[in-house]
């Protein structure tokens, strides 16, 4: 048996609400602290307690952090899903299981490690509820011993996790140690998977995308945050509440912000509209159903030209869909969210670093272009833990866009809100409360002329719509440019958002296994940068990889590209509700390329 070093996918199957999250974080951290690239993905039900849940930890010496379809080591703690979980493994995998589940008879081509978890934790606590929780940390010890994790790093990770809870710390350390000791004494390792120290995580951090987005917003100078709880975006605002409470309270104890839980998403976006109009850097965070509800206000924001930042942490639709699963299903509808000729700016972060960066930059774009900016994250980026480079402090000062002050008005004598003075489609605005008799204008969703007066005249309407189109079109060169990897290949791939992680790995699989070189363009914003069309021009066939059914970004591209380029596009769209894996992309592209 050849030892497999630092290339293992571990899955823990438990019951929702059993308290396994701490244990899984400890495993993730221990591997991270050993310098091995690692990622963790929580696959959980829309339920508080009782339904099956899986947590996957992938350690990869090559740095692949996307989902891997195949599980190498299964920790089976859940009677309900255990048999099916074991049945789905490849030969040669390993199963750590709770002994009463009696799984070893299910098949003979995987390594079984039965562990009597209740017995293992029995000496540590006599309290039933505590014991149930400690079973989790006991599997951490077992897995650590089997995978040869350094126990010192496991203990350090437990110490970090329970830093403020001395009693819990002591119990959990004991449970991990008990698991480790049991495995050492009773189990004989027959699988090949081990984790050995590397030096590939030095200086890096671990964070989820929602927390990263929250930090970005805070350093972007957000002042008004309104929200309505919805999975998977709630933790974005909850994280923001926590950070703002720490870093945005003045010496007098007063907050330089307001965070309001609204009565629904209509009110959340309405408050953002009011706050943006009145001059705050205002944002909300939501998911698909909330985005649908925000549609009417999105059109008002576009048409009355109100800066706003809306995070859509995408889950699976249509309708309530799969609330706790990931997708890229809101791209097309959000680009045109609302009735009439509406078109929005979209930012498409792929990493937690970009969640932070776009988190603050979104306000710059929103105030510069005086329009709502939608940041389309997803559950995979938002709620899962990712390794990342430490975030870079904003590299430019806050710029509030074209806002006229009292002094400006003294000098100018007056202004016209929707006149294209500078030829960029962006008018000048004033904020309510500006102490000048010529400051006020009448913001409205009804037809208006350049002076913001009600108008039903065709020429006013057409001029205004043409200016809005110009304004949004101009944004394409200001928004984050696409990122190109490779050049000169015949085949190109376009992807965005969380698909990026599977794409990086798929590109390597295509090269090494299928002998197919592909160039890769990662799109980061809509409207599309000119480089996107150039990329399609430079490639005979371009696969558009995304996580929805209809190939939504491919659809947006078809609207924009010149007619002769459209036939070059091929949609590779997957929507299993799970994060995209490289293998699915590799096999589909290879097959369609005849490899």
């Amino acid at each position: 048996m050849t030892t497999v070093v630092n290339d293992v996918s571990l899955q823990v199957a438990t019951v929702n609400g059993s308290g396994s999250q701490s244990a899984n974080m400890v495993l993730l951290r221990a591997i991270f602290q050993m310098g091995v690239p690692v990622s963790g993905k929580n696959l959980f039900p829309s339920n508080i307690a009782g339904l099956p849940t899986w947590y996957t930890i992938r350690a990869s010496k090559d740095g692949w952090v996307g989902r891997k379809k195949e599980i190498d080591v299964l920790v089976a703690m859940n009677a309900e899903s255990a048999k099916e979980d074991v049945a789905s493994l490849r030969p040669g995998s390993a199963v750590v299981y709770d002994e009463p589940l009696a799984l070893s008879s299910v098949r003979s081509d995987v390594a079984f490690y039965p562990v009597p978890f209740d017995k293992v934790v029995h000496p540590i606590s006599s309290e039933a509820k505590t014991k149930k929780l400690l079973r989790n940390m006991a599997y951490v010890g077992v897995v650590a011993q089997l995978l040869e994790l350094e126990m010192a790093e496991v203990e350090r990770a437990i110490g970090k996790h329970f830093a403020k809870k001395a009693k819990a710390l002591e119990l959990n350390l004991a449970a991990a140690r008990a698991g480790f000791d049991f495995a050492k004494a009773q189990l004989k390792k027959t699988d090949p998977f081990v984790v050995r120290r590397m030096d590939a995580t030095r200086g890096k951090i671990i964070i989820d995308g929602n927390s990263a987005a929250a930090l970005g917003a805070m350093f972007g100078g957000v002042t008004v945050v309104t929200w309505y709880p919805i999975t998977p975006s709630s933790s974005l605002v909850e994280s923001l509440i926590s950070y703002m409470g720490r870093y945005r309270i003045g010496p007098d104890g007063k907050a330089t912000y307001a965070i309001v839980q609204a009565e629904d998403e209509l009110a959340a976006i309405g408050m953002v509209m009011g706050a943006g109009w009145a001059g705050a850097r205002a944002m909300t965070a939501t998911a698909g159903p909330g985005i649908s509800l925000m549609s009417e206000f999105a059109g008002l924001g576009y048409f009355a030209e109100v800066p706003a930042v809306i995070w859509d942490v995408q889950r699976v639709g249509p309708s309530t869909g799969l609330p706790t699963r990931t997708s890229q299903g809101d791209v097309l509808s959000t680009a045109f969210l609302s009735h009439g000729d509406t078109r929005h700016l979209l930012l498409l972060p792929a990493t937690v670093e970009e969640c932070f960066q776009f988190g603050w930059e979104a306000f710059e774009y929103a105030e510069h272009f005086q329009t709502p900016v939608f940041v389309l994250s997803d559950l995979d980026i938002g709620m899962n833990n990712w390794m990342a480079e430490p975030f870079r402090y904003p590299d430019r000062p806050i710029h509030r866009g074209k806002v006229l002050s009292k002094e400006d008005l003294d000098r100018l004598g007056g202004f016209e809100r929707y006149r294209d003075v500078d030829g960029d489609g962006i008018g000048y605005r004033t904020l309510p409360g500006t102490d000048h008799p010529a400051a006020a204008y009448f913001a409205r969703g009804t037809g208006h002329n350049e002076k913001a007066q009600y108008s039903e005249r065709s020429d006013d309407w057409e001029r205004n719509l043409a200016r809005l189109e110009r304004k949004v079109h101009n944004a394409r060169t200001a928004l984050p440019a696409p990122v190109l990897q490779g050049e000169g290949a015949e085949v190109g791939i376009i992807a965005y958002g969380s698909s990026h992680h599977a794409m990086l790995e798929a590109r390597e699989q295509l090269r090494s296994e299928k002998k197919l070189d592909v160039d890769y363009l990662r799109v980061r914003a809509y409207p599309f940068h000119d480089d996107v069309e150039a990329f399609v021009k430079n490639h005979a066939r371009v696969y558009v990889v995304e996580q929805n059914r209809d190939g939504q970004l491919a659809g947006l591209l078809k609207l924009d590209l010149t007619a002769e380029l459209v036939p070059r596009l091929r949609s590779v769209a997957h929507i299993p509700g799970l994060p995209l894996d490289a293998r699915s992309v590799t096999e589909e592209v290879a097959a369609r390329e005849g490899r």
Partner: protein
Amino acid sequence: MADAKTNRIGLTLADYQGGKSTLCAGCGHNAISERLLNTMFELGIQPERVAKLSGIGCSSKSPAYFMSRAHSFNTVHGRMPSVATGALLANRTLIALGVSGDGDTASIGIGQFVHLVRRNLPLVYVIEDNGVYGLTKGQFSATADVGSKLKTGVVNELPPIDTCLLAIELGATFVGRSFSGDKRQLSAMLKAAVSHRGTAVLDVISPCVAFNDHEGSTKSFAYTKDHDEPLHELSFVPVFEDIGVEYNAGTTVDVRLHDGSHLQLHKLEESYDPRQKLQAVQRILEAQVRGEVLTGVLYVDPAAPTFLDRLGMVETPLATLPANEVRPPRTALDEVMRSLG
């Protein structure tokens, strides 16, 4: 005052004018706009400090017809409350005036109305109430009375939503009902509402001359005049004026408002005290049974904390905080990054 034609901050009535109304001649809403304009003028409020907010409908167009020197936002149907909330979060120093209608408030917008009131957002919320949808040519709204008849002969069978009763229950701290045709009462009520700090809900019966001013309508001028049952005579003494006449405590209730001005209610109904919530609710329910249009200040609580008071915000408007107060320093990011390593 130096000049009778200027107010205490030296502005003339012309400084409070708006655009020319495009509503029907004789529309109650125009009278209300006129009262609003006069209120702001007489109180000497700087127009630039006022934010006018509205939803959709005839009522919601009216902010264009008074105070052009105040910023205004004509939003979407029934959602003015959330936009007003956001505006006040951004700038807590604004004097917010919401103008809505019965459809905009009691039907499509009732969800937002309810939550605005619950928060006691400091804002004057005027419902220009005519019982019908005007811009879509005369369908019943949710404030139409049982038995009220449209011109087409259609009779309303569903009970009305009493926005005042609802507002009192949900926590509004100033609730009144008036009539666009009662200049004196409406003026005093508006001045008091503007001087109040908290949500002031004013349901103003404002007959629709085009679609609901005929025989058989319970929101017509004639019907409202005939059934108007004023609880009291109102007088308002602004903070910058002395209380001239001393009234007998037995016949007058004097309410000192947030800014130090006084609302005086000269009792027509001996026992009514608008600071008693239970009594207010009971009296409104009685009026419903008796078919009265009960007008006056129904309820007032001048001391309750507002939504903005509860948020612990800095005094400076959030909208204009300098960059160094809203972007934490580099050391803060470093500290967070260290905790995540």
